[in-house]
Each structure stands twice: as structure tokens, then as C-alpha cells.
Amino acid sequence: MQTDTPILSIQNLRRDFKMGNETVHALRGVSFDIYNGEFVTIMGTSGSGKSTMLNILGCMDRPTSGHYILDGEHTETLKRDALAKIRRQKIGFVFQSYNLLSRTTAIENVELPLLYNPSISAAERHHRAIEALKRVGLEGRMNHLPNQLSGGQQQRVAIARALVNDPVIILADEATGNLDTRTSYEIMMIFQELNRQGKTIAFVTHEPDIATFSSRTITLRDGLVKKDVINENVQDAKEAFEALPPPETFDEE
């Protein structure tokens, strides 16, 4: 599945923050490559630099030094607008708290990234949003508002939104953090399915069991890569889900 040129390459990445007179080194020289079709989890405790890492990978922040090449493009010197363009074209975000626009239907939430791409017509936008919702199994709830959807369904809308611009990589930030175990596994099933279809995924988490569903785990500690291991024994989320004890059912009658 891996090709010779990485889809994402970071080299000796550093990120310093000035806090008053002190300089905090959030990243102290991180290097790794992610290849097309990989499902990578990035793990680390809080303060390990994983959030900073994700922000830079997501082109929302720029490194203090080092290189970040995404899909053949150097991003470290780009201006705000150019970074926005990369986010629009190459990246799909999935957040812990879903970040759906309230009082906006599922399909409109999914269409949102395409709104900022003037070359896509309204009809195509609509069509692609429907396709994306189908891929996460929500074609029946396209016109529901976020508050009419469960947490898992909301997160699936968010995944559809991340898919709709056909990004080269999906970045997920603790995407199961707000969900119970069953729903988490359901979400992981979707991620695994997308990965099987060829999507490259970088998934930031601090839950070790989530990492077992990925093909590779990079562990950060104190701003450095502590471990970078290929997961030989990838767990199937569907099996894990089915192995869970059945949910408590309520007698409705």
C-alpha cells in the first residue's frame, strides 16, 4: 500500500512559544513521514506536544523551524491565505467536540468546506455532500439539525464534512474523546473503512485501545518522537464492537 514518496513529511520540526520572558519548546525536532494509505495514531500525554503537532499538520500553525511538506508542497513559509487554501483542498478535520454549526442541517454542515471553493457549483456541492453522508451511513438524516442527532451521529456528520473536499489526509483530534466505548468503536469502524478505501488518516488520541485500530502509532513525549511503531496486529473495530457486552436495554412497554 505504501508508495515511495510520502504524502506528508516533516523534518526536524521545532515549535517554540514565547510565554513572557520564557520560551516553551513544544516541539524539539520531530521528523517522520506518513505514506499514502496509512492510518497513523499520534499518542502522547498532555504537554507532549501532540496538539501543537496536529495544529502544524493541519496548517493552522507554522513551525518555528524545520520542514513540513504536504502532498509535495512546502508549507512552512506560506502566508495565512495560502495556508487556508491548503486546508480547503488537502485537509479534512475531525474534532473532539464535532464543531457542527448549530441550527444548520447535516447536509449544509457537510457542504460547508465546499462553500469556500468558488470552482464548485451549488449542484455539485449538494451531490458531493450526499455522497459523503452516504459513506458515513447518514443518508437518512441529511436534513436533521445537530441537536436532533446523537453524539455518534454528529461525529459522523463531521467525518462526512472532512471527506467532502476529498482531502489527501484526514486529521482527527481526539475524535472519540466525547463518545462512549460503543459509539467510539462505531466511529473507528468508519475510520477503518475509509482507510481501507485508501484514505490516509492521522488520528491524535491518548486512549491506547483506540491506537490498536491503527496501522502505526507515533508516540510523542516532551516534544520528541519517543516511539514510532508499525502495528503488526491491527484490531478490527467491527469485531471489537461486536465483542462488547450488549447495551443495557430498556423495556419500553
Partner: protein, 401 residues
């Protein structure tokens, strides 16, 4: 992002906070309505003053002796106007198309049992043109044919007071025991700007007054009519030269005072201009306050939607897109407020006009200007909140709770 989509998003955002949107729209509505009503009020009173002045004849020029008085005693050097002056002006002046003396006698006009203290004005036929009088019925007397004739032309008030509203033509008015036959009537003009009734007049040939009533050759006033607007100054100068020439006048001071209706109108309108300016300024301040209201709301909105802004940026919105989104919201608020405000302003003007009988004149200019000011308000007061939004750091914004 295409403009249509932007507007759609903005409308949705505004609808999400109906009450808040309504209140900020209201601020603009009040501002614009106030501007339009106040301007209509100012313009209206200005126009009605102007109309009254115009009714007296815009091109009228008044010539009076320049009486120099010292200690209450009229000095000997005072020049009086004579009939020859009128003839000279009529013949020589090129910027004048009408000239008439005004010699008047006070007394009671009597018809049967009715009497009225109407002044008898001795004029020449040109006077009608100068003062914008028109013959309604009958004829005007002729300067030559009716020289010293015992005839008169009367205004509507005289018809009411002396003839009980009946047609007076052919009937006789007795003035100081001299019978004057009514040969014409004047169309109604209404009251003048200084309160006198312009319809309470009896006109008779000036020679009749000078010979039969007052036995004098002196004329106290001459009215002339310049050939059009803008010629008043030239006409004035010309008249003065003719009058001086007739007298071989060499003294540095002018023998007569000449003033034009235009000067009068200017004096009056400059006062009412000042009034409308003050009214408009007050209304403008309320529009400004409305604009500040928009700014306030937009700041609140930006803060409240920080997370949304962060998300939009994360999925690829540029600062420019965010700026535009919020700018369109504020422009929509002000345009909506502006449109409603114009409607209410016009309605209020009409109500004041019909209920309070105040002269109102809604100027198209004020409608367009206040609409323009509205757009400008939207952009101006929406700009800073929108720029604040566009400059947010997406990471910080997403973290905002």
C-alpha cells in the same frame, strides 16, 4: 464564495438572533426616519417661505428715496421720485420689463352699508406682472386710456367684505367721496409672508391717486420687474444709473435705495437653511447612534461565534471570507433598517403634513443620501468587528468556549 451564498449565510445568521437583529435594525430605522422627516420639515418650511416670497414676485425690485434724516428732521437734499423717472426707466432700461409706481391713500372704502379700511393703491398696469397678480374677471385699466380715470380693480377680500361675494363689476366703490367704478377683479393670492392680506386691495391708476386724492407729484415707491432670475443686480445698477443721469447726479451717495426680492428671499432662506441644518444634524446623530448599535451587536456576534469562525477557518475560509461574511451581515442590517426607515420617514412626513398641517417636502436627495449613509454606516461600523473576526487565530478560536 459567491455573493449569493454569502448573503444567504448572513441572512441565516441574522435570523438566528431575531430579537437582536430587530433591535439593531430599529436603531437604524429610527435614525433614517428621523433624518428624512427632519429634512422634509426643513425643506418644507423653506419652500413654503420661498413660495410666499415668489408669489410676491421674484423679480420685483423696489426703489425708494434714500431719506437721510438727521435728528428726526428730513434733510432738504432728499430726492423724490417722479413720474418722469418711471417713463425714463420704461424707455431706457434693458433689464427691466415692467415698472410701476406705488402711491397709496388710506381711508374707508364704502359700498352701500358696507365699509372696509382698505388702502387705495395707485399703480400702473405693470404692477400686476411685478407682483404676480392676475385678472380673474373684467379688465385691467390702461395707463394711457384710463389716466386719471375713476376706475378700480379689486381683490377677492374686497369682494367678500364690500360686495358680499357678489360680482362687483360695473358697481361703484366710494373712496373719500369719490366714486370708483369696478372694472376688474383679481384672482386670489392668499396672505403674504408678513401677514397682510394680498387680496385686500383696491388698485386704481396712479394718476387718479396723485391728481384726485393726494395732489402731489412725488412718488414714494417705484416697483420694477427684472427680465429674469439672475438679472436683478444688473437691473438695479441700470435703474440707479438712469435715475442719476436724469438728475446729473454727482454726489458719492446714491439718491435712492434699490433692493430686490432676491435679496429678501436670500435673507429668509439662509435662516431656514440654518434651521434645516440643525434639524438634520440632530437626526444625523441618531443615525450615528444606530450605527454604533450595529457595531456593538457585531462585536457581540463575533465574540459569540468565535468557535464558528475558528471552524470556518479550519475548513479553509480565508480571513477575507470571514471579513466579508460579517461585513455583509452589518450591511444587511443597515440596508434593512434604511429601507424601513425611509418608509417610516415618508409616512411620518405625510402624517405631519396632513395632521399638523406643517409644510413638508420629502426630497429625493435626502432619501438617496440617507440610504447611502446607511450603506456607509453598515460598512464603517461593521468593518472593525469583521476585521477582528478575520484576524482571529483559528487555533485559539476553536478552543474558545
Amino acid at each position: 464564495m459567491n455573493p449569493f451564498t454569502l448573503v444567504k449565510i448572513a441572512i441565516r445568521a441574522l435570523l438566528r438572533n431575531r430579537m437582536r437583529t430587530f433591535l439593531s435594525v430599529l436603531g437604524i430605522v429610527i435614525g433614517v426616519a428621523a433624518v428624512i422627516t427632519m429634512v422634509a420639515m426643513g425643506e418644507g418650511s423653506k419652500q413654503s417661505i420661498k413660495e410666499q416670497m415668489t408669489a410676491m414676485g421674484t423679480n420685483a425690485i423696489t426703489i425708494m428715496p434714500n431719506q437721510s434724516r438727521r435728528g428726526g428732521v428730513q434733510s432738504e437734499s432728499t430726492e423724490m421720485l417722479e413720474e418722469e423717472d418711471i417713463i425714463a426707466i420704461r424707455e431706457k432700461a434693458t433689464y427691466i420689463n415692467g415698472v410701476s409706481p406705488m402711491v397709496s391713500v388710506g381711508g374707508q372704502a364704502i359700498v352701500g352699508n358696507n365699509n372696509s379700511p382698505t388702502t387705495l393703491s395707485g399703480i400702473s398696469a405693470d404692477y400686476l406682472k411685478i407682483r404676480n397678480y392676475e385678472i380673474e374677471d373684467g379688465v385691467m385699466f390702461d395707463d394711457e386710456a384710463d389716466r386719471m380715470a375713476k376706475v378700480c380693480v379689486v381683490g377677492q377680500a374686497v369682494i367678500r367684505n364690500l360686495f358680499g361675494g357678489e360680482n362687483p363689476i360695473g358697481k361703484t366703490i366710494r373712496y373719500k367721496n369719490i366714486p370708483l367704478k369696478v372694472i376688474g377683479t383679481l384672482k386670489a393670492k392668499g396672505s403674504g409672508d408678513f401677514g397682510q392680506d394680498q387680496d385686500d386691495v383696491i388698485f386704481t391708476p396712479y394718476q387718479t391717486v396723485m391728481r384726485r386724492f393726494s395732489s402731489t407729484t412725488n412718488i414714494r415707491q417705484i416697483y420694477a420687474n427684472s427680465i429674469g432670475e439672475g438679472y436683478a443686480a444688473k437691473a438695479t445698477e441700470e435703474i440707479m444709473n438712469i435715475l442719476k443721469e436724469r438728475r446729473s447726479w454727482t454726489k458719492p451717495t446714491d439718491p435712492f435705495r434699490v433692493f430686490t426680492q432676491e435679496e429678501m428671499i436670500q435673507t429668509v432662506t439662509s435662516t431656514s437653511d440654518m434651521l434645516s441644518l440643525v434639524l438634520t444634524a440632530i437626526a444625523g446623530i441618531s443615525l450615528l447612534v444606530g450605527g454604533i448599535g450595529i457595531m456593538n451587536i457585531m462585536y457581540v456576534s463575533v465574540t459569540e461565534r468565535t468557535k464558528e469562525i475558528g471552524l470556518r477557518m479550519a475548513i479553509g475560509a480565508r480571513g477575507k471570507d470571514i471579513l466579508l461574511q460579517f461585513l455583509i451581515e452589518s450591511i444587511l442590517i443597515s440596508l434593512l433598517g434604511g429601507s424601513i426607515g425611509i418608509g417610516i420617514g415618508i409616512a411620518a412626513s405625510e402624517i405631519i403634513k396632513s395632521v399638523m398641517n406643517w409644510p413638508m417636502s420629502i426630497s429625493i436627495t435626502s432619501v438617496f443620501v440617507s440610504f447611502g449613509v446607511c450603506c456607509a454606516t453598515g460598512v464603517f461600523f461593521g468593518w472593525y468587528p469583521a476585521r477582528k473576526a478575520s484576524r482571529l487565530d483559528p487555533i485559539e478560536a476553536l478552543r474558545f468556549e
